[in-house]
Structure formats: C-alpha cells, structure tokens
Symmetry: C2
Subunit: 597 residues, 2 copies
Amino acid sequence: MPTYKAPVDDTLFLLDDVLHYSRYDNLPGFSDAPRDVVEAVLNEAAKIAEEVLQPLNLVGDREGCKRAPDGSVTTPKGFKEAFKAYAEGGWISLPMPPEYGGQGLPAVLSHAVGEFMNSANQAFAMYPGLTSGAVAAILAHGSEEQKQLYGTRMIAGQWTGTMNLTEPHCGTDLGLLKTKATPNGDGSYQITGQKIFISAGEHDMAENIIHLVLARIEGAPAGVKGISLFIVPKFEVSNDGAIGARNAVSCGSLEHKMGIHGNATCVMNYDGARGFLLGQENKGLAAMFTMMNEARLGVATQGLAQSEVAYQNAVEYARERTQGRSISGVKAPQQSADPIIVHPDVRRMLLEAKAFNEGARAFMLWTALEADILHRSPDEEARKAADDHLGLMTPVLKGFLTDYGFENAVKAQQVYGGHGYVGEYGMDQFVRDARIAMIYEGANGIQALDLVGRKLPKDGGRAIMAFFKKVGDYVKEHEADEAMKPYVAPLGKALGDLQKATMWLMQNGMANPDNAGAASTDYMHLFGLVAIGYMWARIAEGAQARKAADASQAAVMDAKLMTGKFYMERMLPETGLRLARINTGAATMMAMPAEAF
Amino acid sequence: MPTYKAPVDDTLFLLDDVLHYSRYDNLPGFSDAPRDVVEAVLNEAAKIAEEVLQPLNLVGDREGCKRAPDGSVTTPKGFKEAFKAYAEGGWISLPMPPEYGGQGLPAVLSHAVGEFMNSANQAFAMYPGLTSGAVAAILAHGSEEQKQLYGTRMIAGQWTGTMNLTEPHCGTDLGLLKTKATPNGDGSYQITGQKIFISAGEHDMAENIIHLVLARIEGAPAGVKGISLFIVPKFEVSNDGAIGARNAVSCGSLEHKMGIHGNATCVMNYDGARGFLLGQENKGLAAMFTMMNEARLGVATQGLAQSEVAYQNAVEYARERTQGRSISGVKAPQQSADPIIVHPDVRRMLLEAKAFNEGARAFMLWTALEADILHRSPDEEARKAADDHLGLMTPVLKGFLTDYGFENAVKAQQVYGGHGYVGEYGMDQFVRDARIAMIYEGANGIQALDLVGRKLPKDGGRAIMAFFKKVGDYVKEHEADEAMKPYVAPLGKALGDLQKATMWLMQNGMANPDNAGAASTDYMHLFGLVAIGYMWARIAEGAQARKAADASQAAVMDAKLMTGKFYMERMLPETGLRLARINTGAATMMAMPAEAF
C-alpha cells in the first residue's frame, strides 16, 4: 500500500529561508497568517491529506465512479464523507474573500496545501479544485447576486462547480463550439448542446452542481468573439438558495479513462437547460480564462504532487528492498543482499525526482506569492511586475511541472521493477494519474505556444527582460562567493542559453512563425530548467545560511545542498540541448508533406 | 478504434537498400529465403497481424484473462482461435531448426515478423514469444529426447512454454532464489516453491504448458552457482508425447497489471511438481541466459513495435482532426480549421517517433542479421565478430528501444489531447503496454549495468573498438560526399562523444565502480543514439541511391532523407548532454546518506 507524508518541513523552509515570507507581512490579509498560523495550517492540511484523502486514493482508482441509468453518479466509497470533512475543515474557503465566507488567507498558503491534497488523492482534489476555479470566475465576473447566491455556497462546499468548454469536435479551438444559448425573454437562456471531458460533472457529494458553460447566443458572431459564459445549476435555485426543480442538464455517460478514476469525468448533455449569463455577452472566453489561469497553476501543482508522492514511495522501497550487492563493495553484510538504494542508477532516478520536487515546489510557491502581490499589494508597480511574472510563468509551470512530474512518476515506478507494474504497490496509479496533467487545461504544446507566441512578446518582452535581470543580478551578486559558485556558475551558463534562445526566437519567430512553433516545447523546457535552477541557487543560499545559524539543521541542509549540486551537474545542462534544437529552426520539420509521415 | 498497417515496404527497403540482404545468400539456410520468399513471408505476416491479431488487441485489454477457482485461466475471446491460426501459419516454427519441425528461415526475417505481431497485439505475441524462448533453451541445453519430446511440440504450437525466474523476494538477484528441487531417485525432481510474474503461466490455448523453472537442488552451493534449470510440464507426458496426469503446478492468482491485460501473468505455485533437469546441475543460470538473450531482443522489438503502432494512429489522427489554424497562414480554407498536422509542435512529436521507428528498425534488423551470421556462418572470424556485436548491442537495444518506445507512445497519445486519455481510441493501451518492456527481462538499469560492467570491458574492449572502427570508417568514407554531409558530420561528432564517454569510463570506472554505475544509463542512451545515427546515415545513403536508380520512389525516399535530417539535427545532439552527465561522475550521487533522501 502506498504511503504519503506531506512535506511540511520543506514547505516551511522554502517560505522562511528562501522566499522570506515574513517580509510580506504588510500585504493586506497576510497579518491574518503570521508564521505560526502558516505552520498550524500546513500541519492541519497534512493531517487531512495523510489520514483522510490518501487512504482513499487506491479505493478511488479501483472502484471508480458509477453512473446509474437515471444519470446519477456515485463516487467511490468514502469520497462523500471526505468531501464533507474537507469543506467543513475550511479547505475550499481558505484563500477566498471573507465577504463571501472565505478566510482570505494568502494564495501561497493555499497552493502549498493544494500540493498536499493532490499528492494524497488527485482524483478527489479535483472536485474542490474545479469548484475553486468556478468560484474565481463567478467572483471576478458575476453580479453581486450571483456572488452571494452561488459564490458563498460553493465556498462553503455546499455546492460544487465545473467548467464546460470541450465539445466532441473542439477542445483547444473553442471558436468552433456549437452549444447554443437561446434567450428565454426573462433574462435567462436555454442552453442546448453536448460537452465532453467534464470533470466532476455529476456526483453525489454536494446538494447542487453549478456548471459554468461556454455557449453561443443565437446570432452571435462566429468564432471566439461570439462565445458567452453561463451559469447552469444542476437544480434550479430560488434567490434564497433553496433547491428547486431539476434542470435539463444530465450526465450522458462517464468517460473510461487511463487514470483519475475517482473523479467523475462526464459527457454532459444540455437539453434546453436554464442558464444565466455570467459577465458580458460574447466575452465568455475572457471570463473562462479567469478560471483557466487559476486552474493551470493548480494543474502544475498536480505534476509536482504526483512526482512527490511517487518519489516518497520509491525511496521507502529502495531503502527496504534488498537485491544484489553494491558494485563498490558490500554495504549490508548482515543481510543476504544490499538495499537497492546503494546502486548508483537507483540513486540517479531518485535524485532526479527529488531535485525536481524541491525546486519545483519553490518555483510554485514563488509564483503563488506573486499572485498574492498581484491581488493584494497597494503598490501599482509591484502589481504590474507580479502580473508580468504570473503571465509568463503560468505556461512554464503548467507545461514543465506536468511533463517532468509524469516522467518522475515513471522513474519512481521503475525503481520497483516488476512490482511497480502490478497494482499491489499503487505505483502504476501515480503514473496513470500524472498523465492527465500534461493534457487538460490546455495540452502542454498549447502552453508552449502560449509562452512563445503571446507571453514572450507581450509589452515588448517586458516580463522576460525582468526575469533575465533578476536571475542575472543574482548570479552577479553571488558569483564571487566560493560556497555559491557550484550553483551560480551553472546557473549563469544556463541563463545564457535561455537568453540566446530568446534572441533566436525574436529574430526568427517574427519572420516565420513556424520557427516559434518548432521551438516552443524546447523553449518551455529550457525556461523551466533555468527557473528551477534559479530556485536551487536560492535554496542553496538559504540552506547555507540556515546551517550556519543552526547546527542542528546541518544534515537536512546538507541534503539540500547535495541535491542542488546534483541538479546543477546533471539536470541543468539539458539547457544546451534545448538551445541546440531551437537553433535548427522549422525548415526540416515543415518540409515534410502531410501524406509522407 | 486503433488501426495498424505493418511496415512491409520499409522493412524491405532496409533489407534491400541498407543491409543488402542478398549479399548473405551464401549463408546456410538463406537460400531457402530468397528475396521473393522474404517479401511473401512479410506480406503473409502483415496479413495475420493486421487482420487477426490487431482486432483482438483492444478486446484483450478490456476483457483481460480470468482465473477460475480451480486455477484454470481463460484468455480473452478470440485468443485461442488466433493462437491456432498463428501456430498453423508457421509463425512459431519460422526460424526453428528443420530437424525439430522448424522452417530454418533467417532470424532477421523472424525479427521483422516479430515487430509486426507485437505492434498488432503485444499481449498475444508474448504467448508464442515465451514459447520460442523456452524452445531456444531446450534446443541449446536439452538432451535429444527432450528436444524431440518438448521441442517439436512447442515449435508446432501444440504446447507452449514459460520462463520461471522471479520469486517474491528476488528478481534481478537470482542468487537469492529459494525454490527447491529434491531428487526423486528416478532421475526426476520434486520442485517446490513460488514464482511470480510468470507470463503465459496458465491459459487455455494449448494442450500443455512446459515451464522452465530455476530452482536449487538440495545441498547445492549458495548463490548463483547453485541454481539449476528444470522442465516442469503442466501435464505429465509419456515418451510418445501422450498427455498424462496433472502435475502439481498451478496458477495461484493472476497479477493485476497496468497493461498487457491479454497476457496471463501468473503467480505459479510448485507443490512438489515433477520436473526434469535441463542441462547440467548448477548451470541453470547460464542455460536460462540462452533464453534471456533471445528474449531481450524480442523485448527491444516490443519497444519499437508499440512506438510504431502508436505513431501510425497519431499520424492518422493528426491528418484528420481539425483544430486551430496554422500559425503561418490558413492551410485548409475550405474547412473551419486546419488539420493539426500543420502545427510544428505536432510534427515534432510525430517526427521524433518516426525517426526513432525507422532507425530502430534498421538497428534491430542489423543485429538480427548478425545473429544469423553467428549461428550460420562457416567463417570463424565472422562468427566471432557477430558474437561481439550481439553481446554489445543486446543491452543497448533492450534498454534504448524500450525507453524511447514508451516515450513515443506517450507522445502519440499526446497528439490526441483528451481523446488520448480516454479508452475510445486505444492510445492509452499503447502507453500501458509499452511500459512493461522497460521492466521485464532485466529492468533497463540492469541492461545499462550489463553494458558498462560486462560488455564494454569484455575481451579488452574488442567489441566496442570494432564498432568505433566501423562507424569511424563509414564517416571517413562519406565525409567528402556533399549529399551525405548532413548525415555523417553530426554522426562523426556524436561518435566522438561516445568515444570520450568510453574513455572516461575506462579511466574512472575501474578506479571506482560507482562511476560506471552512475554513468550507465546515460552511456546506454548515448550508445543507442549513435547506433541509430549510424543507421540513419546508412539509410540516407540507401535512399539516395534508390532515388537515383528509380525516380518513381523519389517521394518515399525524400521522406526518409528528411526524417534522417530531423534525427541528425534534433535528436542526435542529445549525445552531448549524455556525455556531460557521465563526466560528472558518481561523487555527488553517492555522497547522500540513504536516510537523507
């Protein structure tokens, strides 16, 4: 049976010694979350993750969700009770605004907690996760009545939310969508159409489900400019929130998926369901993007989360499983074989995951902190810089963390040999669950295109220039420090690769957009490698300082310093390969006629 | 529903224009397989793969195998009939010696056919695959009676075979195995113990199952020097082959696996089953390796096979699915969106798979041809060189082809977006099935260690030196040729990386074996990249010659030339990264205490 222990200590170290969380205590709302509250919240989150959600993970995978002929859906045994505990524990309301029943705590705390919940049970965490995304869209674009009516109840976990974008013939290209909205004359609309891949679309865990649905109002312009966003409740509700008649929306079938079996992924049929415009007519895509951007950071966290839990189990197995002898001499003579953690190649797999996990966690928390600045800072310049950071980093985080998160789940499975391929240890579930994060909320190729096509050139490259300056300044500041050299020297080199790649894109992507497309995935990975490299340099700095200040932490800090060195020596050099690929351009790739593949 | 078309044309091109198959017609047995017979055999193999096995692939995945309380196992609907057709079609007997009912055809043909069968249905192909491995061990180590009694019936597909190595506490480290063999006094033994992960261990497709079982004869030395190999038939047989009483061997349970559901992976219980020594006492491991080496090439082919079939489906989807517009201008104005094959990043994924598939196929066929030379050539020098080649290349093929084969199945799935994650198109099955090949027959980390620890230093590095000379000579021979420059210049550079890495290993691996272990996987991949690079240079040479000779083939040959260029530009440069990693050594990796992970 797989196990999980939430990385509370590492999260606190990152907040304290790397991101210097306490320096932000002047931000509105941060005073409600001083250091001791943060620690208490993380410990409570760890508890529900480890004790309630994690034991349901395998159950969810094996049982899956079941749809009855009447369209109702039953979630796996225990999910309903766990959801109640989750909502009552305040885990949905944590970052939400107090005026709608939220606790108003920092996003950085909420993202830290999100990692724990997703490690423990991704299929479960998706239910509140989608609810949070839907709440974000309602709070950003809804009327005050909608915020009160839907928002408060969703924040309380009384009702849940979904996002309905995809149709059978369109996923990425939403301009093609066909779902229709016909005005009823009373301000409401009849929604008709079919949506697919709707996570948490139907279930038995809440009184009501609030579907946010993209549809086209009759007579609206073609393409993305004619798309509006609607609120379609499963049960109609009166203004006081009382549940009324069943709306004409139903789950037509459940998708049979590779993983996340505990989440109900539905085909949703809208047969003239009553819906209400959310935000402005024909501005639905922008409104949905409020939800999407939020969701993309959540999905990035899922990549990290699966990598972390898979890694933890692999480490435990590698320490316990004995097989063969160390090639440099017997290490456990009292046993018939050495534990497999003595083998360098097993360590390689574990360290690749560990170096990713801790670096990616720092990257994710750093960005979440920038989200707090964006939403809370009174300083306009600071808000603008934070907005730039979020825009630039969201596709990198989503694409890079989920690609590598999946690879690490595969490596952790590999540590188990044949025992990783059978269900017994649960390792194959981590691989199957991690796989979806590379696909949903915009497949990673779309993230890469968003990065090179939109985010990079935006405002004349202001965001990327700020990142270059930040990392470049950091390298300069520390390059003379002997202890920091093993970290900043490789970082400086990798930054150079990223700068060259960016220059190449600026020169060649404009002239021929296919050059940007051909470079996009390599560029996204190159960017992720540098960002995590920067995090590791800062982690090393923090670890050195902490070790100097507190000798009792020496062993823990030394492990971080070694892991960071491993990252610099073995993982960061991948930037050179990515740059070399980018430099080859699109010519060869595009020359091939479609029929010649 | 997924589709499959066996790559008969590419296989023939590789045999004719790259490997120059006809030059080997002086080898014994090759005269029975002239060019027209080869073509006919490939076409017949394509037919059974496409028409009989492929339609059962999804069925096998969905139904799986079922074990009844009496221990009997039912294979998925259609498997039994397909196995009959397969055996009667001569697909097991194809490469087997005529004196035992085989057709004596070349291994290169058998491996080409093996790819088709594994693309069509890997879970099915494992049944005859394991049988072939068991036959190889019996023919190499059995008495004449054993060869006649078991060999002929297994070659006919009347009985099937298995290999029983793994026990719950030991997989890689067979020295730990506990299964006991007690002499009965009549030349037979009582076999007692439990084996796990036994592919094709029990099923309903053949009259009898011949288990080859590693066990320790009472009083035998500890460790690998006390292991013997036994023949344990499911049903006892008399000397004339008549089926007798049920032997005390049974399937205790079926493993619940991530993939290859159509294959019965069994826990096998031996409760004093009657067994017969195969080969010499205490020499069981060597005898089992006859089977293992054969099987490793088969598993390498599975990596290629899953990559090929996943790629084919992804190409078809990418040509048909319309979504978004080309970033360099609308390509299909008559449609509401362009087919996604216009997008550079989709092409990148497809070309990475295509370049791998064709290069890996060449590598696999080249090595199979060397196996023919080893087993058939009258020239001792040629046999020795072929033996060197096989020893060196077997771990590279197994590790590299299965690692990249899996990655390509993942990429092909990614082309489908959300549609790849649900069962509908069958793409997730390719990923799940491909995953096992990285694990079984020696996990890929073991392959890498076999390569750097055994195969490289063997005979003073004779095998690797011969490979360097072959590739180096090829580069020199063609470097002045303008048309070949785009291929041989990068190949020369990559070969340099491999040579540097080899030199580093020789200097540092001896002094500290952990350096070899730390480098092993990167070295294996570096080697695979260069080997396939060499294949691509030869493919380019063959394609240029063919195009010059036959204008009607220009488009097909141009596609190969472009794909090869893509490999050289985008994939081969990975050698530099692998070398950089190897050069960092083991120090950082080994410094970490086990408890600090």
